[in-house]
């Protein structure tokens, strides 16, 4: 009967949205490394631990008043809640029970509640035996009155600090990556300490007139000497003892240098990944960024423009010098090969990136990156650079949305400059947004002042704007002249006075930035007014 109730309750938990949401909330608060709440919680806990340690230090020589006692109780309450919550989050007990129950149902055998509970408990025990859980527990226990004797264990509260920062994990990772070297060194040091302890004890024991009373002293002296610390509380006086000391100091220097170099090398190896991880972490905060593959001349120019717009972007380049240049300007940069799937996935091609730009100087690489990107994300906007005319079609085939040829544009402009220098300046002016004059689009929003208006009625001249044309997909405009097909819509150049604007039409205007912005604001406002 009891078993049935428990199983029923488990199914209830499984289907309960509220239970799931609560668990999710605490997961975000305590464990989820991506959540903002966790970082706030971590800071809060660090402050709490610091404060409680401060009270502890204070209580060494003073007695705490009631406020202090109360604070201590609050801290312990928070610690206990945290401990229990973490134990709860560690595993889904109801799932274990349900799994066991369904297994017995399938096999048609009796459901053994005790065995199942043992499984649940084993899982929780696994948590309790983890290093951090033990530290947590040790930080709480000494507050229990009968265990006051363990007050010294309150030191463990300080270890709790490690829980709330990544530093210890990074350090452990670094040490783990050099396990072989460290073990070799440890074994060597163990032998060395063992030999020198025995030797110094033999030479310097009390009966020989030395200061070493027992083996523990000898061990202590060896460690102090090998580490080149040398307190000097125990010093060898016999000839043999001093010889041991000299040998030990010289070997100690070597051991220390070796140890330092291992740690430094491990850190510098790890640094690259650490930095890259930081780049990825920063990228995960954006949900609209652009991946620039290749930080050559074109990539640099694009990055410069995006920086001006405050548009987020990340640079991927194989070349170390280019990455150095990018980092110098504090751009997010990944030193890797953009044609590798994992690199693009890590950079977020499916996770917030809106466009991939292939701007390397090598068409073969551009085709490869384009192909990889299209394969990874069929929707993303890919703009690729082609240096040779014959490769344009290949890039389109590989999946590029747009292909740009630097030399084509340059050649065209050069030819234009010869024949029509003034027109050239006009084109360049529009292309480069010179003199604050630019060509912009204005969308006819539903119910705004432009909708159902005739072009002739809109006084563009007075607004200090020039209408170049209208882009539209609307069938109603088909009868008008000057219709040009542009991609999958139509561009109506120089529309007639009786051209009636429809919703979602796009006006192409030329003008100064502020006249355009002002008009845009007016359009937005008018669409809101009538709508409300």
């Amino acid at each position: 009967m009891l078993a049935r109730i428990i199983v029923y309750f488990c199914y209830f938990l499984k289907t309960s949205d509220r239970y799931r949401q609560t668990k999710r909330f605490f997961y975000d608060l305590l464990e989820n490394p991506q959540s903002k709440m966790k970082s706030y919680f971590d800071v809060f806990m660090i402050c709490l631990v610091m404060l409680s340690v401060f009270f502890l230090v204070y209580s060494v020589e003073h007695t705490l008043n009631t406020t202090g006692e109360f604070f201590e109780q609050v801290v312990v309450f928070i610690f206990i809640s945290e401990y229990l919550l973490r134990a709860w989050l560690f595993s889904d007990s109801h799932q274990i029970i349900i799994k066991e129950y369904e297994k017995t149902e399938y096999l048609n055998i009796r459901f053994n509640l005790l065995n199942t509970l043992r499984l649940v408990f084993a899982k929780k025990l696994e948590y309790m035996l983890s290093l951090f859980a033990i530290i947590d527990l040790l930080a709480i226990l000494p507050s229990y009155r009968p265990l006051r004797i363990l007050r010294i264990l309150l030191i463990f509260r300080m270890f709790k600090l490690f829980r709330y920062s990544n530093s210890i994990k990074v350090f452990a990772d670094v040490l783990a990556s050099k396990r072989f070297e460290l073990i070799t060194l440890a074994i060597f040091m163990g032998f060395l300490v063992f030999i020198s302890s025995i030797a110094i004890y033999l030479f310097e024991n009390n009966s020989s007139g030395g200061n070493v009373r027992h083996l523990y002293d000898a061990f202590y002296w060896s460690i102090v000497t090998i580490s080149t610390v040398g307190y000097g509380d125990i010093t060898p006086i016999t000839f043999g003892g001093r010889l041991v000391a000299i040998t030990l100091i010289l070997t100690g220097l070597g051991v220390l240098a070796f140890f330092t170099s291992i740690i430094v090398a491990a850190f510098s190896d790890k640094m690259h990944t650490l930095r890259e991880n930081r780049t990825y972490a920063e990228l995960s905060r954006y949900n609209d960024f652009i991946i620039i593959c290749g930080f050559g001349r074109v990539g640099q120019e694009v990055a410069k423009q995006f920086k001006k717009d405050q548009q987020a972007f990340v640079i991927i380049d194989k070349d170390e010098h280019n990455i150095f240049l990018a980092k110098e300007q504090q751009f997010l940069a990944i030193h890797d090969d953009a044609s590798i799937n994992a690199v693009l996935i890590n950079a977020g091609i499916n996770n917030g990136a809106t466009a991939v730009l292939c701007t390397t100087g090598n068409d073969v690489i551009n085709v490869y990156i384009t192909l990889t990107s299209r394969y990874l994300n069929p929707e993303i906007n890919i703009i690729s650079r082609a240096n040779r005319q014959d490769n344009v079609s290949k890039l389109y085939q590989a999946g590029a949305n747009t292909v740009i040829q630097p030399f084509e544009i340059a050649g065209l402009l050069a030819a234009e400059y010869i024949g029509q220098p003034v027109a050239f300046e006009a084109i360049l002016g529009i292309l480069q947004d010179q003199k604050q004059i630019s060509m912009e689009t204005l969308i006819v929003q539903p119910n705004c002042l432009l909708e159902k208006q005739k072009i002739g009625k809109l006084d563009f001249e007075n607004r200090k704007l020039m209408l170049v044309g209208v882009i539209s997909t609307n069938q109603k405009h088909r009868k008008h002249r000057n219709r040009y097909k542009v991609k999958n819509q139509h561009f109506y150049f120089n529309p007639e006075q009786n051209f009636e604007l429809q919703e979602q039409d796009i006006l192409v205007v030329l003008g100064r930035k502020y006249s355009i912005e002002y008009f845009q604001d007016q359009i937005k406002k008018s669409s809101l007014n009538i709508g409300s």
């Binding site: 120019e301 701007t359 650079r385 030819a415 480069q432 006249s515």
Partner: protein, 235 residues
């Protein structure tokens, strides 16, 4: 017929060469590399195989005599700077257009005496930026400026005794009469700067002024003819 010398037959110059109308210009390809020169010759271009480092060789192809314009499309910036310097020394009135690889070289080329610098990478970068931020505009520009469609940008010089003489830009109403959009004007009274016609100032047209218009090529041609026809009539 203007004589143009194009230095360098390579990726960078192909497009410019193909864009230059051979009915309007007398093109001469100058290439120091014999295999590339042979390639240009094969394509039917007038080609000179010379070493651009020697002034005599430059003289021999007509620099300092009848060549009016040179394009420096050599593969290295340093070569282009050298060529610009030599060419400028030979002919003070030469129109020199050079292409650059790195941003720093642009200043050096200007200092060496080039009239116009074209930085393909910069323009390409700006184009990519525009494709991301303003894709519609980028497409329109492709179809108008880069001539993928019938729309073009053209400049028209106002001749002496033109019927446009003494008219104001506001009176032109090109968009109604000629199906053209007036992009801007160079008003000689105000210097050589181009003023975009965005309703800021009404300019009076005088002989020597230049107007820039955008529109279908047929209408541009018709308008040009009209402007010139009136002139010849009066004379």
């Amino acid at each position: 017929m203007k004589k143009i010398a194009i230095f360098g037959y390579n990726l960078r110059s192909f497009e410019a060469i193909s864009r230059l109308d051979q009915n309007l210009y007398d093109l001469l390809i100058v290439e120091p590399d014999s295999s590339l020169a042979a390639l240009a010759e094969e394509k039917g271009y007038k080609t000179a195989l010379i070493d651009f480092r020697s002034d005599e060789a430059l003289n021999s192809i007509g620099l300092g005599k009848d060549i009016e314009i040179i394009f420096c499309f050599l593969p290295e910036d340093s070569e282009n700077v050298f060529l610009t310097l030599s060419a400028r020394a030979l002919d003070q009135n030469l129109n020199i257009i050079a292409i650059v690889d790195t941003a720093q070289s642009a200043e050096k080329l200007i200092a060496a005496g080039a009239n116009k610098i074209i930085d393909p990478y910069q323009i390409c970068g700006q184009k990519i930026h525009e494709l991301i931020t303003k894709p519609d505009i980028a497409n329109i520009i492709d179809h108008t400026v880069f001539g993928r469609n019938d729309l073009h940008v053209a400049e028209i010089l106002i001749p002496e005794n033109s019927y446009l003489d003494n008219t104001f830009t506001s009176e032109l109403t090109l968009n109604e009469k000629h199906n053209l959009v007036l992009l801007g004007i160079v008003d000689k009274e105000l210097g050589d700067d181009l003023h975009f016609s965005i309703g800021e100032k009404d300019h009076k047209l005088d002989p020597g002024d230049i107007i820039v218009v955008m529109g279908p090529s047929r209408e541009i041609k018709a308008f040009k003819k009209e402007v010139e026809y009136v002139q010849s009539n009066k004379i």
